[in-house]
């Protein structure tokens, strides 16, 4: 990660464009209104496309030309770094002009407040991707210091740091090595590291969201909930997306899927399926300029279409099986499907991903199973402690989240439990936190 001062101009550019576009859209009617919406969207998508997708596009075109034996003039790659949080704040900026265009939001006249809406620091780098209806009015309101907000915010931040430092970064040590050399590991190592990755990315990203929500709450601002215990309660992929990265899912739902589904409505179910495929392919691409993410998105699209097509059948089946058994088995099946999709999300290349899938499903055991895969680099009996800690703390996290709501606000009325819980979490962070780990995964998007 690097701080490149000139990149501030990118933010400034989109802020100026969208601020002016918002005011003009509100005051205009007819074609000019639409024109300024298009200008705003093109500016935002253009910046995103240039920084995030130019080299991806170029590599693919060059690859295609090489296949056709046209190698005389390969398009040169650009040496550019993706500005941190670009995917998040361009989407947040677009939601503003679209909502003004739709008449759901008044154009913001105060330039400073509009700029703050785009750059509000708790959620600038990795969301939640807010809507103007939820945020802009909060910047106009007076915020007085409230010690209860301070307590709630700090508690949520503490929980976020726990998930990131104690669980995510510890599991990452295992995952990173296995996914760097997937061909060198027993299928059980591949299975374990894939499950670990599911927990890693959940704790990493929801941990960041908790820190963002908590730090906003300390200042008296309320951001939208981004995660709602997806692994514990999602009985199918559709429900998973209602609980995972909610701000992105609803963004795509409001601004891409719904308009597409309406446009394709005459094709009935096939139209909806097409809308799902396009939405999730683009959602995959939003996560990263790599075919692995596109395949990940398409796998989710397939699972969602399956959910849609089998809804009635599954309802019939559910009536024949005891509700609790049906629910638990649905959660487990959803968890397994998610893990298969994580392989594509985490693998460094498409061929690595398919190799991992192949080795898992053919129960590859040409190399011995290693409990502590870090033997590979440290030549020692490393990190039984670390792995044990990761598993135990993941279990603690799941139990806690099954008993408390996403904001942990129930603890307000139970001071002793709150005291014991927060003390345990803080001591765990001090003694077991991995402080030299990586930055948040979603910072790269």
């Amino acid at each position: 990660m690097a701080f490149i001062p000139i990149y501030i101009l990118i933010l400034f550019f989109t802020i100026i464009i969208d601020y002016i576009a918002g005011i003009i859209i509100e005051g205009e009617t007819g074609k000019r209104r639409r024109l300024f919406l298009i200008i705003s969207i093109v500016a935002n998508v253009g910046v995103l496309a240039f920084f995030k997708y130019f080299n991806f596009f170029t590599e693919n075109v060059n690859g295609l030309l090489a296949l056709l034996h046209i190698t005389t003039y390969p398009i040169p790659l650009l040496k550019i770094i993706l500005p941190i949080g670009l995917s998040f704040h361009t989407f947040q900026a677009m939601s503003y002009t679209i909502e003004v265009y739709r008449g759901n939001q008044k154009a913001e006249r105060h330039f400073g407040i509009y700029a703050l809406y785009v750059m509000f620091y708790p959620q600038l780098t990795a969301g939640p991707i807010e809507r103007p209806q939820n945020m802009l009015h909060q910047f106009h309101e007076e915020h007085k210091f409230d010690s209860q907000n301070l307590l709630n915010g700090l508690r949520l931040m503490l929980w976020g740091f726990f998930k990131k430092l104690v669980i995510a970064d510890r599991l990452a040590q295992y995952v990173t090595i296995v996914y760097a050399f997937p061909g060198q590991f027993h299928y059980l190592n591949l299975v374990i590291s894939t499950i670990f990755f599911g927990f890693q990315i959940y704790c990493d990203f929801s941990g960041y969201s908790d820190i963002a929500l908590g730090s906003a709450q300390v200042m008296g601002f309320k951001l939208m909930t981004n995660f709602n215990r997806p692994f514990l309660y999602a009985t199918n992929i559709t429900e998973f997306w209602r609980r995972w990265h909610i701000s992105l899912y609803t963004w795509f739902n409001d601004y891409l899927y719904t308009p597409l589904a309406i446009a394709f409505r005459e094709y009935m179910k096939w139209g909806i399926a097409a809308a799902i495929i396009i939405t999730f392919a683009l959602s995959g691409l939003w996560h990263g300029a790599n075919w692995t993410f596109v395949i990940w998105g398409l796998l989710h699209a397939t699972a969602l279409i399956y959910d849609m097509l089998t809804k009635k059948i599954r309802k019939k089946v559910s009536k024949k099986i005891p509700a609790s058994i049906y629910r638990v088995s649905s959660i487990l099946i959803t968890f397994v499907i998610l893990n298969i999709t994580w392989i594509f999300f985490r693998a460094n290349t498409v061929s690595d991903a398919f190799l991992i899938v192949k080795h898992i499903f053919t129960l590859y055991h040409q190399v011995p199973f290693k409990v502590t895969v870090l033997d590979l680099v440290t030549q020692s009996e490393f990190v039984r402690l670390g792995i044990l800690t990761g598993v135990l703390m993941s279990t603690f996290m799941m139990v806690t989240e099954s008993r408390l709501s996403a904001g942990l606000s129930e603890l307000n009325n139970k001071p002793i439990v709150d005291f014991l819980f927060c003390t345990f979490v803080l001591v765990s962070i001090i003694l077991l936190g991995v402080f030299n780990g990586s930055s948040f995964i979603y910072f790269q998007f």
């Binding site: 209860q148 307590l151 870090l374 990190v383 001071p415 927060c422 001591v427 001090i430 402080f435 030299n436």
Partner: protein, 322 residues
Amino acid sequence: MQPFIRIIAVVVTAFIIAWPLATPINKVLFRYRHHDAKRLTEIYENNTAYDMLFIGASRTHRDIYPRIIDSICGVNSYNAGTESGTIHDFKMTLDGFLVNHPAPKVVVLTMDLSSFMKPYDIHFYPQYFPYLNNKALAHDLSEYGYNVNTVKLFPFLMITDFDDFSKESAIQMIRGRDTTDISTGDFDYKGYISNSDGYIKKTELEKVHKNMNIHPESVSSLNEMLEVCRLHHIKVIFTYAPEYNFNLQRTRTNTDNVFSLITQTAKKNSIPYLRDDSLNLCRNPRLFANNGHLNKQGAVVYSAILAKELNKVLPPSADKIH
């Protein structure tokens, strides 16, 4: 309970619980790091007078045996090499050394291809925390962006800087298992630690070519270091330690620029530059533990050669050194 009281109660209780749990782990860790603790205590706390100080990374630490140097050059030398060190580690070593020790007459600085690679990144920085009373060390670490004040205020919090490997080693020692950073059959002497007797059997080169970046901060640190030597009237000598068959240079890129920078700096400051990658021993795999490091026998052979080279570039009268 009032929110403020709740917050304070949590922080105070957590510190009270973590302090007695973390302190023994931190203490034991430094016992596990037996060699490093001895070396760092000598550099940052003791005040022995040395004529010659060797500064560099692992290719100093494991390649230069002071016993041989002392006997051939007739000096009292100390090996202050740091594993995985770059120019910032070298500068910090010199600055910290000069706080308590009299200035050495000569500093032999082994410049590696990777010496300029990192911007302010100290390898395994927690090892320095017990020595923060050394003002120059604390100042340099702080300048490089490490939060030394928190550790000074709450020493038990240094546990947050240790990885799981270190913590597990500490727990094993608390349980009575004797572990140390000196491998069986190896020894240490005046900062030097021997490599094993093993030697290169496979000469396959790494496929990945690593680029040896030159960071401007690193060049500044080198110049600051030379300025410190000038102020203390310390003679500086640059060396490049042996590598097997140029294999490091063959698997790195940007090496010409690194050598050019070192040569130009040496020329500008009238510093002798002993480049030892063309010695005959560099073609003998039995003297190398790996492409970049000599083994136990290789270090003895090379130290003797280096001592003779040093004798040639040092002032003719031994009195000028002593």
